[in-house]
Amino acid sequence: MILALAGQPNVGKSSVFNTLTGMQQHVGNWPGKTVEKKEGLFTLSDGRRISLIDLPGTYSLTSNTIEEIITRDFILQTRPDAIINVVDTSNLERNLYLTTELLDLGRPVVMILNMMDLADQKGYSIDAPALSEALGLPVITAVASRKNGLNELYSSLDNLIAASDKHRGNFCFSPPVEQVIANIGERLQHYSFEGHPVRWLAIKLLEDDAQIKGLVAATVSESDLAALQAEISQHFPGGPSSLAEERYRWINSVLDAAVRREGLGKISASDRVDLVLTSRWLGVPILLAVLAGVFLLIFKLSPPLQELIGGLFSWLSHLIQVYLGPVLPNWLVRLLTDGVLAGVGTAMSFVPLILITFTLFGLLEDVGYFARAAFVMDRWLGPLGLPGKAFISLLMGYGCNVPAIMAARTAENERDRLLTILVTPLTICSARQVVAVALIGAFFRPKFAPWVMLGLYLVGFALICLVSFVLKNMVLKAERNPFFIELPMYRLPNLTNIITYAWHKTRGYLQRAATYIAAVSALLWVLSYFPGGSIDHSIIGTIGHWIEPVGRPFGFDWRLLVALLSGFAAKETTLATLGVLYHANESSIGAVLTSSIPFASGLSFFVFSMFYIPCLVTVLTIRQESGSRKWTAFALAYTLLLAALLSLIVYHLALALS
């Protein structure tokens, strides 16, 4: 049995999904987090297995954006046994718009009135039975973030599903429009359209949906097509917008029957906050201050914890030396301590930094600030050709580039999306931040460290501006789309969500450290020890001397080159590699790097490692999301070129000045 969760963006679909399936889909307060459908399983009390699909949120089901296409294709092709339509009750009027479209698809619908707490707060009073009656659908009230109402959902699911054939809703258009739909349906009936419901096709034709028009034109006979066009132009003078009006007219009649909304359209507390946070003079300074505050907190909070974990690993390797030293051969002990533990320990000591970064960004997200940041930044990004929404991707990119690139799917058109995808890799993701913190610690006095970090972010942002400006003027010349965005109400953050989210991300990092980084560290150590017993007479040393000339213009010795190469798979590996190759562990890495790498080379390496090609997973994501090998190659090439250029400049500047 298949159930699909559908609804507008940011209404709590993923919250419901997580509760029912025990999975951990990304939850937060801005429209468009879920961009790919996700399947989860759970069992009903009678033992039946249900497969539940979390669909991306969409405002409607036209064929404009990828999420809309994913959602409607899923429902049309998989024909779920029922659609669970999650709605934000505090935003019922607009939410029901999608409901009318879902009903057109002809599948049974069950409605969850979510966010009842916010509706109460807003002064809405809802008569659920009357609403159910007016809609012609069963409704369940819920507060998904507190898991209220989901038990009822769970226990009544069997009944709902059993009776679901009835739940087709009361929605219909006005009689003249219904007549046109019926006439069109008559003609379409004789053809098969991949099993799509005829009524839905007729409605989409009236709505001027490009995809469906193409489908119909390619399927029906010429005379029928002509007749259809005649039907539409003669009997449907209102055009697509009249359908939207009729949908809203029906919605209002439903609301009149069951909902009392006091203070509709009044300026709320949330609006008053926006008057300040999005104002012309304060908006951007506040945004900058918030971001600066976030990064400051990250760098204040993490070092003590970092030392703690570093200490733990030193102690571990000490234990190994003391207890295993006498038993195992010397090289094996060193493989464990200087190889595996040094590498893994270096990566592990940055776990707090990752955790804190994602917690703070999760907090901003959950409060509802992301959408505002996009709105405020649109004014500045506009001249660069970036849509305001791209800023959400960029913000996410500071955590991890992969979801950031996926988030670009909410862009209004392909050009905006491609541009966003191409510039996102220039954000300093948390793994690169780890490398940055270590390198800055090694090459700058503590007093300057925060400023260097700030400089890094500014340079990164300047590069984003530069690249998108160049792309806008040279390659992606089309106009960017006019920008608009829904601004969800500010909310108190939900700590469980934030912690789950941050932990989810940190766990990924931990897993990489325990598996991939451990393996790479061990391998590197073996390569750097055998056959000669010292790094200069090792395999990697020999190869290193071979490739050394490549790094010379940038001031890199071969160790730095190897570190950069290993960083391609996962950026934090760069650091583990340095640890192994320079015989340093997590607590000594700063001092060892300072003493063995000249300042100019260090600086150049720092710059290079921040901006050169994105990590493997990011590259694969770019390939998948852009759907183009050409653009993926372009992203690789331009980041590499940019990094090379910058580090060349920095290296020679530093040489000249010192």
Binding site: T62, I66, S90, G214, E222, A226, E412
Partner: protein
């Protein structure tokens, strides 16, 4: 994971499909070029060209502006008005319609910073950049 459907490419494929159909039926040469559907087409089969025109309509024309009408840009914060027309390309127009900006809808301006607006529509808030706000005309309540 499946390849992401590239929307534009996809609509193209539909066009392509149709184009093939048309070519088989020996339509005019206009089916390759751009912007030829209206004139200058030595079409022998009026019907097929009509189909092309019909297909392309949805992505092309913008509703003609109505110069006499004031746009939302002009409204100061706190003001109410009824939406009249959306002078935007069809795709965006549809999007705004589904967000509730249908003709006659009452909107309240929450904030207006030099044409960059936050408006209350039905029960939600929308942020509009100046290039959107300046294309929505209103009638006074």
């Amino acid at each position: 994971m499946k390849n992401v459907p590239n929307h534009q490419a996809q609509t193209k494929t539909w066009y392509r499909k149709l184009l093939d159909l048309l070519l088989q039926k020996g339509c005019c040469s206009c089916s390759e070029g751009e912007g030829c559907a209206n004139q200058d087409c030595s079409c022998t089969n009026g019907n097929t060209c009509a189909i092309r025109e019909w297909l392309e309509k949805s992505d092309g024309a913008i509703t003609p502006p109505d110069p006499g009408q004031p746009t939302l840009t002009a409204l100061p914060a706190g003001e109410r008005a009824h939406v009249n027309q959306l002078l935007l390309p069809p795709a965006q127009k549809k999007r705004l319609l589904s967000l509730g900006l249908t003709s006659g809808t009452e909107v309240t301006v929450v904030n207006n910073e030099n044409g960059r607006l936050i408006i209350a529509v039905r029960d939600s808030r929308l942020g509009l950049s100046p290039d959107v706000a300046s294309k929505i005309t209103y009638r006074v309540a």
